[in-house]
């Protein structure tokens, strides 16, 4: 079988599996978040944390809960890392430095999982499994909760109530993420991913010297890393490491895990707003972008011009032979179009245009299908913007799902789309303009004043794009473990996660108060392919226009050379 055919078949297998699973899972999620019943274990949890799950919260209260819970998470993770030196099961690793501990805490709470450390060389069992893996679950559940709150904003009327954050959080964990993670982990173990509490093994190498290999609860962390679109690897090599991702099958399954919840949430959305076709329009929009990016990625990675690369069957540099070009390209496109950031190949080694696709995928706001929850709410914000422009063009005050997009709504949506470009462009520009931050760029193959050219620029741009969009993948080639990068990327991750949530919840509150406008022949039909097409166009043009100069000086200059 030719590698290209293998790529196409993998793509088809993914589409088939998602088509099969998204309906039952989406319906199940809708039932979970609409149910009025509490499971016994949930009641215990509510009693422990002192929350009343039946109280309906308006948006400010919902937001306060989200922020308070996340702040507690940041503090806990920070202290855990700072205290690692005195924790058991730590392989003797010392405490993490303040700026790196801040960065890591921010990263895992913000569902980013940017790692300026090497897992196997700095984090022990307690921090990995008791801190980081736990946050993988929590941050994912927070993301879904906020998305569900926005969906309720569309679905409800004449009330400002968006549900109860604590109930949404606990249900997301107890009824969705944990059961799915258990099943997923078993599949991964069956594929050969390790799951133990072994220490460091030293293995002698053929050319002398010793290689250290850690054991650990890898499968359990791996599954939520993908399922919760977190991306923080147990090992530094992430999903390229054979203990995390041993073969082609586990690779495909991991891609599936990344996509399954964001895709199913579109069905949940359709269910909860009372029109599954609206959900399919959103899914269609996401699907078109994801398929387009995947296809382009496969094309650019297979058709690299270099003679050595052609001999290898494509751009194999930085890729694992067990996944090949196709398995790596698909993983790479998927991880950047979701807020996952797990990697099974070096994105820095992608072709110029391939690296550009990775960047652009994140710049779109990671909405195709995006992170768990964040993908849906990001896409709905873009839909609000597209509806506003298109709605004017049909001669009515724009409305989406029966809710008018007026001054207040457009204000929140406009603020939302300002956040990440400001963070990405601002921090990247500062990093290049200041004296020392450019020294972190390891690439020296260019000919600019700093000697690193377009590729070096891409490395910095990628770091902040990944951080502000809560992706977490790295382009590599940038030493990010400096005070400057740890601090700025940490800020970018926190602001890039929680500022948009403020606007999403404010928008949700504003929508929930409205009385729905009945549908007539004069209503813009947002469940139609025409609208989905318009939405794709609006997303690409608005993002493209924002980042075109930056992309031109990075991946485009490199890819078109």
């Amino acid at each position: 079988m030719s590698p290209v055919l293998a790529g196409v078949l993998q793509l088809a297998a993914l589409v088939g599996a998602l088509a099969l699973v998204h309906r039952p899972l989406g319906d199940y999620l809708a039932a979970v978040y609409s149910s009025t019943r509490h499971l016994r274990v949930e009641k215990w949890i509510y009693r422990c944390i002192g929350a009343n799950p039946s109280v309906q919260l308006r948006w400010p209260a919902y937001l306060r809960s989200v922020l308070a819970f996340s702040l507690a998470g940041v503090l806990f993770l920070y202290l855990l890392q700072r205290a690692q030196g005195s924790l058991p099961l730590s392989y003797g690793f010392t405490s993490i430095s303040p700026h790196q501990a801040f960065n890591t805490a921010a990263s895992f709470v913000a569902n980013t999982n940017w790692q300026s450390y090497s897992g196997e060389q700095s984090m022990g069992h307690v921090v990995q499994t008791g801190g980081l893996a736990v946050q993988n679950f929590l941050s994912a559940a927070v993301g879904i909760a906020v998305a569900i709150a926005l969906v309720r904003g569309f679905a409800r009327s004449r009330t400002g109530e968006l549900g109860n954050f604590w109930a949404d959080l606990v249900r997301g964990l107890v009824r969705v993420l944990i059961p799915m993670a258990v099943i997923g982990a078993l599949v991964l173990v069956a594929c050969g991913v390790i799951q133990n509490f072994a220490g460091i093994h030293e293995i002698g190498q053929f050319d002398g010297g010793v290689q250290q290999t850690n054991g650990g609860a890898v499968a359990s962390q791996e599954v939520i890393k993908e399922l919760g679109t977190n991306g923080g690897g147990y090992f530094n090599a992430n999903s390229a490491h054979p203990f995390e991702n041993p073969n082609g099958l586990s690779n495909l399954f991991e891609i599936f895990l990344i996509l399954v919840i964001p895709v199913s949430l579109t069905r949940t959305f359709g269910r909860m707003v009372g029109s599954t076709r609206q959900g399919y329009a959103i899914l269609g929009t996401m699907g078109v972008i994801w398929l387009g990016f995947s296809a382009l990625m496969l094309w650019t990675e297979f058709h690299h011009g270099g003679a050595a690369l052609q001999e290898a069957g494509g751009a194999m540099e930085g890729k694992e032979t067990r996944f090949g070009v196709a398995g790596s390209a698909l993983f790479s496109a998927t991880t950047t179009l979701t807020s996952t950031g797990a990697v099974n190949s070096f994105h820095s080694s992608n072709t110029g245009l391939g690296g550009g696709l990775d960047l652009l995928g994140m710049m779109l706001g990671e909405i195709a299908p995006g992170g768990v929850g964040s993908g849906l709410y990001g896409m709905l914000i873009m839909a609000v913007i597209a509806v506003f422009i298109a709605g004017l063009m049909v001669g009515r005050t724009p409305e989406y799902l029966g809710k008018k997009i007026g001054t207040r709504e457009i204000k929140f949506a406009a603020c939302y789309i300002l956040v990440t470009p400001t963070l990405v462009l601002g921090f990247t520009a500062a990093s290049l303009a200041l004296a020392t931050p450019p020294d972190s760029i390891l690439n020296t193959a260019g000919n600019s004043v700093h000697g690193s050219g377009a590729h070096g620029f891409s490395e910095v741009l990628y770091a902040f794009t990944s951080g502000a969009n809560n992706n977490g993948s790295a382009f590599a080639g940038l030493n990010a473990n400096t005070q400057w990068y740890n601090t700025t990327i940490g800020l970018a991750m926190l602001l890039g996660r929680f500022l948009p949530m403020v606007f999403v919840l404010a928008l949700a509150g504003s929508l929930a108060e409205q009385q729905p406008v009945p549908k007539t022949a004069g209503t813009l039909r947002t469940e139609q392919p025409l609208f989905a097409g318009l939405l794709v166009g609006a997303i690409l043009i608005i993002t493209g226009l924002t980042f075109f100069p930056a992309l031109a000086l990075g991946p485009l200059a490199e890819g078109l050379a």
């Binding site: 422009i389 100069p549 930056a550």
Partner: protein
């Protein structure tokens, strides 16, 4: 026309309805404009207007004024910056060229607004002429013949009583409290035919600035000087009272955020470029910024809003707020009065239905005879039908020998004639409401046959109005047959309603008729729903019910009892012939008092929104081409970035010509789109899907492609200039 009760008032219309059917006049149109009847269209636009508006456009360059249009304010800052830079390097023609074109960009935007305002000013001047200083004849007491004192019109207070006689200009808005007069309202409506104003009822309102042509009336002043109808009208058309509408504010927010995004993209580009070893000239960055921010829509936004109001004024509709115009575009339920809007004002005889044993001509003859003394439109239509169908000429009193006519009255609800033959025998012929005639026949010792009753009921069931015709002669009193009176639905209404349905607007017919009649007319006219035997309370309840379901409701009204409903409706159009209470309550006034105009108002509201959306889409889509022009121009010459030359798909001549072409295109497109923004995007009623498809194709794809062509052409031209290519 007056609401004289007629013989046909078996089912009396409970509500006063506007029944004006006179043609829409041209109105106080600005010079060089033609208000087209029927469909939404704007005035024509001529280049001379641009020149005349130039001084005003220059005045708007004042930063304190300019800051109100944030996007253009950014361009102005860019212009100042590039001018300063050009001055520091006076030998560089490129800097001067960019600075010059940036100034032109701002100027073009101001010009668009100034032209739009200028059109309103011309109308305001016409109105001002009507508002000459008047001297009021104030009465000391409520007695119409009390002593008068002469005071300036500006000193009148609310509640003052003034007297106006033939030739007087009415000094202020008010209600006639005594007398009847004919009034020339052409100063406001443009309609030269005088109108009757009388005390009491729904035609008591008079407007300051109009002229009494005959008789003498006492008027109670209801508005303070300076707040009269004509003052408000002047403010409205001048744009002085113009406030940004909710949609416009929302769009401004979106444009502001896009401006911030592009500002960010350009400001951060300098460190990126410096890192790449290609530090950029500030002039080039300013040019890039101006090209990227949504200048096209930013420049035309306020002109579009002013022009939208203007289009209404051209149709003789005054919107009291821009919000109302916008709401008109959103209307999903139209309440239309049957009489005058859907049907012609009057019922007309359609058929003669004789009872068994009577010939049709005999019935027609009797019906005609009995209607000769009926001056109501219904009575006249019977005479007309008899002539057209049976060749029966109308006879005059003299021709009939000894004839005593019984004229129609509201009390008897019948009319007729007593013919005294040469032998002295009296033949009495009567025609009228079924109940009245039945009473008359029975009173005279006759009876109404079951056959006649059946025919009466049949006509009622079919939605018509039956009139009975009876005679009492040598053969005794008996019914000859039934005249079938029908509401005549105006031509083209069904098509109009079909259009509205395709636009997603539900039409509800309001009538005082009984449900059967109402249903028949509703079916014939093709409205979606009807409200029969409607009282003002029913109407109010219907509006509230629709609004509770999320619908936006528009209606017209003229009577004082319409006022609460007019105030409750989202769009309430008061007829100018109506009472001041109605005009106060509504948020629009139709000077022509033509209730059908509600449909046009909805279309104008929609067109306003569509124009904004289309130009926004166009403006954003334009940016793609500008990037393809400017980014290669900035970096393709830098070592290590030669690959970016691939992006120069337009193959523009040089870096400088590429950037200049983009800036020139950006400025010229504003001027090119001024006519469109004043006229509004072409609007035809169609479904939202079709409309979106069409506008996306024209303004989305068009906006994507047009600048590629435009920039290339400009580049071809300027590369011919020596020293540039």
């Amino acid at each position: 026309m007056s609401r004289t009760p007629t013989t046909t008032d078996l089912s009396e219309e409970a509500m006063p309805t506007a029944t004006t059917t006179r043609p829409a006049p041209g109105g106080p149109a600005a010079p060089g404009e033609h208000a087209e009847p029927g469909r939404v269209a704007g005035g024509l636009f001529d280049a001379g207007q641009l020149l005349r508006s130039l001084p005003e456009a220059l005045r708007k360059l004042d930063p304190r004024t300019q800051v109100k249009a944030p996007v253009m304010f950014v361009v102005e800052i860019g212009s100042i910056l590039t001018t300063v830079l050009a001055i520091t390097d006076p030998g560089d023609w490129f800097g001067w060229a960019i600075a010059g074109w940036l100034w032109l960009t701002v100027l073009f935007a101001n010009l668009a607004e100034a032209v739009a305002e200028g059109r309103g000013k011309a109308q305001a001047d016409t109105l001002r002429k009507a508002k000459t200083d008047t001297v009021a004849r104030r009465l000391a007491t409520t007695d119409p013949d009390a002593a008068e004192e002469r005071v300036p019109g500006t000193e009148l207070r609310v509640g003052d009583l003034v007297v106006c006689e033939a030739g007087d200009i009415i000094p202020g808005d008010g209600d006639v409290t005594w007398g009847v007069a004919s009034v020339d309202e052409s100063a406001i409506t443009g309609e030269s035919a005088p109108v009757i104003r009388e005390s009491g009822g729904d035609r008591s309102a008079v407007t300051g600035g109009t002229k009494v042509l005959s008789d003498r009336v006492v008027i109670k002043i209801t508005t303070k000087p300076g707040e009269t109808f004509i003052d408000r009208m002047i403010n409205l058309v001048e744009g002085a009272a113009r406030q940004k509408t909710p949609n416009e504010i929302a769009l401004n927010i979106l444009l502001a955020s896009l401006t911030i995004v592009f500002l960010l993209a350009v400001v951060t580009l300098q460190p990126f470029a410096t890192y790449a070893g290609a530090r950029q000239d500030m002039i080039v960055l300013a040019a890039l910024l101006v090209c990227l921010i949504p200048t096209t829509i930013g420049a035309l936004l306020s002109a579009i809003g002013i022009a939208g109001m203007d289009r209404l004024v051209q149709r003789n509709v005054l919107a009291m707020s821009g919000r109302a115009v916008e709401a008109a575009g959103d209307v999903s339920t139209l309440l239309l009065d049957k009489t005058g809007t859907i049907t012609l004002g009057d019922r007309q005889a359609a058929r003669f239905v004789p009872v068994d044993g009577v010939r049709e001509t005999e019935l027609a003859d009797a019906a005609q005879l009995s209607s000769l003394a009926d001056e109501t439109p219904e009575g006249r239509s019977i005479v007309v039908l008899a002539k057209e169908r049976y060749g029966l000429r109308a006879r005059h009193e003299g021709e009939l020998g000894h004839a005593a006519f019984v004229p129609f009255t509201a009390q008897t609800r019948m009319s007729g004639v007593d013919l005294i033959g040469d032998d002295g025998a009296v033949r009495r012929v009567r025609k009228g409401a079924a109940a009245a005639i039945t009473g008359w026949v029975v009173e005279r010792g006759g009876s109404v046959s079951p056959d006649a009753r059946e025919k009466v009921d049949g006509i009622s069931a079919a939605g018509g109005t039956p009139l009975l015709v009876a005679v009492d002669d040598v053969d005794g009193p008996r019914v000859l047959g039934v005249v079938y009176l029908k509401d005549v639905v105006k031509e083209g209404m069904r098509e109009r309603f079909d259009e509205l349905r395709r636009m997603g607007i539900k039409t509800v017919m309001i009538t005082g008729d009984n449900p059967l009649t109402a249903k028949a007319i509703a079916d014939e006219a093709g409205v979606d729903d009807f409200l029969a035997e409607a009282t003002p309370e029913d109407k109010m309840a219907l509006i509230k019910r629709e609004q509770a379901g999320g619908q936006l409701v528009a209606m017209t009204g003229d009577g004082t009892n319409d006022a609460p409903a007019l105030a409750q409706a989202d769009v309430g159009v008061a007829m100018n012939t109506g009472t001041s209470a109605a005009k106060e309550a509504g948020n629009m006034v139709d000077l022509d008092s033509n209730p059908t105009k509600l449909i046009e108002i909805v279309e104008i509201g929609k067109q306003l929104l569509i124009t904004r959306g289309a130009l926004t889409t166009f403006s954003i889509a334009n940016d793609v081409a500008k990037y393809f022009a400017i980014i290669p121009a900035m970096f393709a010459g830098v070592a290590g970035y030669e690959g970016l030359d691939t992006l120069n798909i337009m193959r523009l001549a040089s870096s400088q010509s590429a950037i200049l072409s983009a800036v020139i295109f950006n400025a010229l497109i504003i001027i090119a789109l001024v006519p469109l923004s004043l006229r509004g995007v072409r609007y035809r009623p169609m479904s939202a899907d079709q409309m979106l498809r069409r506008n996306l194709a024209v303004y989305g794809l068009g906006g994507l492609v047009a600048p590629f062509v435009g920039i290339k052409l400009i580049d071809l031209l300027i590369s011919l200039i020596p020293g540039i290519g």
